[in-house]
Symmetry: C2
Subunit: 189 residues, 2 copies
């Protein structure tokens, strides 16, 4: 549910300590918009600490959350490979600490540091692997099952993440989410 990538965190720590390239630490407060959909940026971020959400806003203003990003998750990297606008917005949920580096440095690292190259390749592959079954599941099962599944994956769910965000993650309205939660309570109670 909240994705992470310890391997990449560890490697970024090492790179940063060595002082290679222009990797720098950056901090953001809660609810801050770091990347906005359909814009152009020149940085790649790797989360050191905190939680952010990555979401798409459609023409009707509805948000659809792609992923909750935790430590070791990167964002802004897709735009390095094809020089297009961002498809997602990224906004912090908790205060966030990141390593930030320019597209240029990112590219140099990819070329010259094959360990880094491999970690990024794996991270991309994982993002694909993770999304496929999730959307499949959400389509195939009623909301209740989706909630139960999330709570199992991540019990502190409702403590950290707002109802609205959970609903936007599952892809339903807040109303429907509430209805499902109520029915779950009645069943278990």
């Amino acid at each position: 549910m909240i994705r992470s990538n310890p391997e990449l965190t560890a490697y970024m720590d090492k790179l940063f300590e060595r002082g290679v390239h222009d990797i720098r630490e950056e901090e953001f407060r809660a609810k801050q918009l770091i990347i906005e959909q359909d814009h152009r940026y020149h940085n790649v971020y790797v989360i050191r600490e905190g939680i952010a959400k990555c979401y798409i806003t459609d023409e009707n203003g509805k948000d659809f959350i792609q992923e909750f990003l935790g430590a070791g998750m990167e964002f802004g990297e897709l735009e390095v490979f094809n020089n297009k606008l961002t498809i997602c917005s990224v906004e912090t949920i908790t205060p966030l600490k990141t390593y930030s580096l320019s597209h240029k440095s990112f590219n140099v690292l990819l070329k010259e540091d094959m360990e880094f190259n491999r970690l990024i390749m794996k991270a991309l592959a994982d993002k694909i692997r993770y999304k496929a079954p999730r959307h499949s599941y959400q389509h195939s099962y009623p909301i209740e099952n989706n909630i139960l599944r999330l709570k199992q994956l991540f019990p502190e769910l409702t403590d950290v993440i707002s109802k609205k965000d959970i609903a936007n993650y599952i892809g339903v309205t807040t109303r429907s989410l509430n209805r499902a939660l109520k029915e779950l309570n009645e069943k278990s109670g």
Copy 2:
């Protein structure tokens, strides 16, 4: 809708002509299952010609199509990076011609051929970019809009791909798809 990657096709042609590594041509007949979900394989495929579907089957036996793969699309590559079972099945729709290579050769190429490395990295990034707005759109709009959108992207839609597959791609039942198609006809007629 049916995705392709001309750049990768061209590059694979070149590699094949040069006779590097164990890249070989392979052919499959229509409706053939090449990769089955939850299994382990040791090959990566790049489509030269034809169309295949990549889909997940859930516990209830419902299929959910992730992508229709055309020329230049690769599959079986995700399992190179993390040594897990396949998450999707891949089945041909039309007869299919591929370049096939072992995980081992794929890895060697990634390390030694930075042009190849970059193409694969970009292909992975594109898969992510492509999926995000698609699922967002499907959630947010009624079936009719989804059909219209697909027909716009790919007018020959219903000629090449069965109703069942289209439905499984949009994530609805065949019944619902038919209903929507009928209503579209009535509106336009």
